[in-house]
């Protein structure tokens, strides 16, 4: 049932193309795109590009999430850190992170490091905000409860604040998964010789619209699968929390 709107959209797309309402120069038919994707998967040519992309996105994501959790918790608990980081964070927040790619290339070269750095920064932002809000909304009574059961002041962050903030952090990490994919593809548009973003950009450049769209759909499916797998893993690992959906 959930897939019905999607099936209708694909059906309408194919029907319009078959009826001649949609010239191939505007949009290739669904079958052409699907056939192109099938070819890429059979030949295996898409796999090394997938691996290169996921290496970059994974590294950036891991750095961003780890840094984001630490920074967010510290901001919530240490006044000086909050004062130092908050203005910087508010400044970075509205900047489209791909706009920083040229700058990072000047600093870190045109290779993987600049891409990983931009992805890390982009992933860091939603996680910092989630960890900060999560840690700040810990109920006083829970802190008092821990203190009256022998938890020293210095251990509260680890014993109470972090676990209390986990549901919010988990939501921030989910956003970071999507952000990682977006910034990854943008960074591979600008300079890369491998990767799914590179494929999209180069197929688009030579007018191979069916192949270009095939990679876009492949990316969408992978992103969807990642998000589902993440949510399923979360429900298992955090069964103590009542998730809203």
């Amino acid at each position: 049932m959930k897939m019905l709107p999607l099936a209708l959209l694909v059906g309408a797309w194919q029907a319009a193309a078959s009826a001649g309402l949609l010239p191939a120069s505007v949009l290739p038919s669904f079958w052409e795109v699907a056939a192109s994707l099938g070819g890429m998967l059979r030949s295996g040519e898409i796999l090394p590009h997938t691996a290169a992309s996921f290496g970059r996105a994974g590294a950036g994501f891991a750095l961003g999430v780890a840094g984001g959790v630490v920074l967010g918790l510290l901001m919530a608990r240490v006044r000086a850190v909050e004062r130092a980081i908050e203005p910087i964070l508010l400044l970075i927040y509205p900047v489209p992170k791909p706009a920083l790619i040229p700058l990072f290339m000047v600093w870190l070269g045109i290779g993987d490091f600049s891409k990983i750095a931009v992805i890390a920064l982009a992933c860091l932002v939603p996680v910092v905000i989630a960890a900060y809000n999560g840690a700040r909304s810990v109920d006083d009574m829970l802190i008092w409860s821990a203190r009256a059961r022998g938890t020293a002041q210095g251990r509260l962050l680890w014993r109470v604040v972090l676990p209390s903030a986990l549901p919010q952090i988990a939501a921030g990490v989910r956003t970071a998964i999507a952000v990682a994919i977006i910034v990854l593809v943008s960074s591979e548009f600008i300079s890369a010789e491998t990767g799914l973003g590179y494929l999209i950009f180069s197929y688009g450049g030579v007018g191979a619209d069916d192949a270009m769209l095939a990679v876009v759909i492949y990316l969408a499916v992978l992103g969807y699968a990642l998000d589902r797998a993440y949510l399923a893993g979360l429900r298992r690992l955090m069964s103590w929390h009542a998730f809203a959906h």
């Binding site: 109920d139 006083d140 009574m141 829970l142 008092w144 409860s145 821990a146 203190r147 009256a148 059961r149 022998g150 938890t151 251990r155 014993r159 109470v160 676990p163 209390s164 986990l166 955090m238 069964s239 103590w240 929390h241 009542a242």
Partner: protein, 260 residues
């Protein structure tokens, strides 16, 4: 001067905020509590009765005066004073077993010994079979049983209870009141129990403290001259009814005063 009381509040005042916005929550509180007493504190909402409990817990520091345990000033929380809140005593990410064993783990008690002690408290509050559940999977009454076991497992000298049964239905509340009384008799702990329920205050407290509307002052302290047995149908006891009526009238005056 007589020997220092076990738990003593001397000239305690508590204000929140400053300047024109300052709210005086407690004023000139003097109260002495002997060891093994079960003291209930009752008063209209907003009278500062929970604040009084938090001062004994060491979660808050009084604006004036001092709170002393065995003659020593209380300045921070500690496992010698256990607390059960109306909610939020339990850690949602820990199972019943780990919640009850929390204080023991913080104290460094080894796993095997910890499990043995946890087992004891699980039996004490009748939660056998629920050891591996998370708090959200339990009813409100069961959650409060876990909170009680979690607090008792730390072996506190004083049990602080902040309207612990306020969110429960009448039947569950009655059962848990009996359990708390039974545990108090068994362990002869000192209990300080805050409630807005007059019947609960009389059913549990060997002494009942009535507080005034804000700023909270001690209006009267009544010693209950009779015992209440576990499971007793105290509704049938004329002495109980008379005391309940007396306390109720006293509290009602304050509720009216608070509404002004």
């Amino acid at each position: 001067m007589a020997a220092a009381a076990y738990l003593e509040m001397r000239g305690v005042a508590m204000r929140f905020g400053d300047g024109a916005q300052a709210v005086s929550a407690l004023d000139s509180i003097d109260l002495s509590i002997a060891e093994h007493e079960f003291v209930t504190i009752v008063g209209p909402s907003g009278c500062g009765k929970s604040t009084l409990l938090y001062l004994v817990g060491g979660f808050l520091r009084p604006t004036a005066g001092g709170v002393y345990l065995r003659g020593r000033g209380i300045d921070k929380p500690g496992p010698d004073r256990g607390i059960v809140f109306q909610r939020y005593s339990l850690f949602p990410w820990l199972t019943v077993r780990k919640n009850i064993g929390y204080g023991l783990e913080e104290k460094g008690v080894a796993r095997v010994e910890r499990d043995r002690i946890v087992g004891e408290y699980v039996r004490l509050v009748h939660l056998e079979g629920f050891e591996d559940r998370y708090p959200r999977e339990l009813s409100g009454g069961m959650q409060q049983r876990v909170a009680l076991a979690q607090t008792l497992a730390c072996q506190p000298d004083i049990l602080l209870m902040d309207e612990p049964f306020g969110a429960l239905d009448a039947q569950t509340r009655r059962i848990l009141q009996d359990e708390v009384r039974r545990i108090w008799r068994r362990d002869t702990k000192t209990v300080l129990f805050v409630t807005h329920d007059v019947e609960e205050a009389v059913a549990l407290g060997t002494r009942i403290v009535v507080m005034s509307a804000r700023p909270g002052r001690i209006k009267e302290v009544v010693t209950r001259g009779f015992d209440v047995a576990d499971g007793e149908e105290f509704e049938a006891n004329p002495a109980f009814a008379a005391l309940k009526l007396h306390i109720w009238r006293s509290v009602k005056e304050e509720v009216k005063a608070a509404r002004g």
